[in-house]
């Protein structure tokens, strides 16, 4: 057993020997095995091109949108293989927040929050919709800021507010896992701080996997951290442990700024 990989009991998500290649033999992710802790923030760090986004997108099978991608291995969500579920069902259990805020431009704030339901054709009563919108917006701390403009388009919101709206849209489904692909890299420091506080609050109810380019962000808010390099999972440990006492020389090199 690899002592550089953290062992976790009762994980929410298990990645088992996962390899992803573009084309025939260009591997973006190589033989990655890792368990993800429930109700915690797990950060995935690494220099650009190390495969961290590809790994994240494999978890809700978003990478299948693009052609010529081959996936080997297994990912289990609560002991159930994600490849046995329809993508529709899977992506309701594993939500995703993107690098740039991407609210639907044609929809109002209210419609954006329940977009996951309305676009899937779920018929909800007005009262049910109101409840979902209210609780989701409360969870992301946006309700007070937008309660008078729920029927306006999301464009007038600031970048940070838009990103929180996107998180609310994901929370509307009450997913088990939320994937975040550098959610603050397009935001100013104040909005970033707000989102980070939000993530720490959210981990009481959700398991969060956070891809980040920003080492200090990982150090600030994550419980566990993975370090990826050239498609390999080099080291996976409790964040504090990894930052104070990395086991692998490559992790140390990255954390001390020798490369990346």
């Amino acid at each position: 057993m690899n002592d550089k990989i953290l062992q976790i009991s009762n994980p929410v998500l298990s990645i088992i020997d996962l390899s992803i290649s573009y084309g025939e033999d260009k591997y973006a992710v190589k033989n990655v095995s890792a368990d993800v802790k429930r109700n915690a923030i797990t950060a995935i760090m690494g220099p650009s091109g190390c495969g961290k986004s590809t790994l994240l997108r494999a978890i809700n099978r978003m990478h299948e949108l693009y052609p010529n991608i081959h996936t080997k291995g297994e990912i289990k969500l609560n002991e159930e293989s994600i490849y046995d579920m329809s993508t529709t069902k899977l992506r309701r259990k594993i939500g995703m927040v993107f690098q740039r805020p991407n609210p639907f431009p044609t929809m109002s704030i209210y419609e954006n929050v329940i977009a996951g339901y309305s676009l899937n054709g779920s018929k909800l009563k007005k009262s049910e919709k109101d409840e979902i919108v209210e609780s989701s917006l409360t969870d992301v701390g946006l309700l007070d800021e937008v309660k008078d403009s729920l029927n306006k388009k999301g464009n007038f919101l600031s970048g940070g507010q838009q990103q929180r709206l996107c998180i609310a849209r994901t929370l509307a489904f009450k997913p088990d896992v939320i994937l975040m692909d550098e959610p603050t890299s397009a935001l100013d420091p104040l909005s970033t701080a707000k989102i980070e506080d939000l993530l720490v609050e959210l981990k009481a109810h959700y398991s969060i996997i956070l891809v980040t380019h920003n080492m200090s962000q990982a150090a600030r808010i994550s419980d566990n951290a993975m370090f990826m390099y050239l498609g390999e999972l080099v080291e996976y440990d409790k964040t504090k442990k990894m930052f104070t006492n990395p086991k692998d020389s490559r992790t140390e090199g990255y954390l001390t700024g020798k490369f990346g």
């Binding site: 809700n60 978003m62 949108l65 993508t87 529709t88 069902k89 899977l90 992506r91 309701r92 939500g95 995703m96 993107f98 690098q99 740039r100 991407n102 609210p103 639907f104 431009p105 044609t106 977009a115 996951g116 676009l119 899937n120 054709g121 996107c166 849209r169 994901t170 489904f173």
Partner: protein
């Protein structure tokens, strides 16, 4: 390591040298002091551009002036709501120095009918093809379709009229019909909407599509409920421009719908259209005034559509 003395020397020589070469350059510029000539050249260029620009737009202004001057007097209530007069009525009116009675109601209704039917045929098909091309960038089959679309755009409209004549007039309606005209116009609209759809889709950030996918929305719903509404203005602009493009088509209609002296809403019967009427009026020496007013109407109609298209694309961009 350099000694401080050495680096001082180096700096000094560098400074002196730079200073010298700057003086030299200054002298060169002074020698060729032709700023006056350069300014004149610039003015000459500007003047030429203004003259050529004026020349370019003058035909448009002249056309508008000509149509207004000759066509405006025929524009009245009857012009929009009555069918075209017969030769005798027109001749009598011209002889008495009155304005020609009747109007182009049969043409307006026929044009609207055919444009609506052509749109019903062309819009869904070309939107789907446009989306297909966008979704399959770089694939062989899509490139083939794109190439064929370009070729279709280059086919002369009269040829499309001939094809519609063989397919629809001879094959389906067994006689001249609005349907045949609509098919010819629809084929003309296809390449225009296909390309504008593809271009519009390319403008929509991919993140919007991913947002839909990440919510577990099935592919067809992402297209219908996310992509098409997001690109609505672009799609609408393309559709309106393609309609305004076929509104004035005459040749394919001559071969397919023939024309009609009455208002007709039956798509398997011969039908009139504004451009067809212009041609008919032109061939009748007593109805020359109606040529101008019909042309004025057609141009105003096309211009309005173009302006609306531009407004829509500006409002949403």
């Amino acid at each position: 390591m350099q000694s401080p003395q050495l680096s001082m020397q180096l700096a000094k020589s560098l400074f002196v040298n730079t200073h010298r070469s700057m003086n030299k350059r200054k002298a060169l510029i002074d020698e060729k002091d032709n700023s006056n000539w350069r300014e004149r050249k610039s003015k000459l260029f500007f003047g030429t551009v203004v003259v050529l620009a004026t020349l370019t737009i003058s035909p448009i202004l002249l056309i508008v002036y000509e149509l207004l001057a000759k066509g405006l007097k025929q524009i009245n209530f009857d012009f929009f709501f009555k069918v075209a007069p017969d030769t005798l009525q027109a001749m009598t009116a011209v002889r008495n120095g009155e304005i020609i009675p009747g109007g182009i109601a049969n043409g307006i209704t026929g044009t609207l009918l055919m444009v609506v039917v052509a749109s019903v045929i062309a819009i869904p098909v070309s939107l789907l093809i446009g989306i297909f091309l966008y979704e399959n960038q770089g694939k062989k089959y899509a490139s083939l379709i794109r190439g064929l679309t370009d070729i279709l755009q280059g086919v002369p409209s009269v040829v499309l009229g001939l094809i519609a004549y063989i397919w629809i007039v001879q094959g389906v309606t067994k006689g001249f019909s609005a349907l045949a005209g609509s098919v010819a116009l629809a084929i003309m609209m296809l390449p225009l909407i296909i390309r504008s759809t593809e271009e519009t889709m390319k403008m929509i950030p991919i993140s919007i599509k991913e947002a839909g996918a990440a919510l577990g929305v099935p592919y067809h719903k992402i297209i219908l409920k996310v992509m098409i509404p997001s690109g609505f203005s672009g799609l609408m602009t393309g559709i309106l421009l393609s309609i305004s493009r076929v509104l004035g088509e005459t040749a394919p209609l001559m071969l397919t719908t023939l024309g009609s002296t009455t208002v007709n809403f039956n798509i398997v019967k011969p039908t009139s259209a504004v451009p067809l009427q212009i041609w008919e009026f032109y061939n009748n020496p007593n109805m020359i005034d109606l040529v101008w007013s019909s042309s004025l109407f057609l141009m105003a109609f096309v211009l309005t559509l173009n302006i609306i298209a531009k407004r829509i694309s500006m409002k949403f961009s």
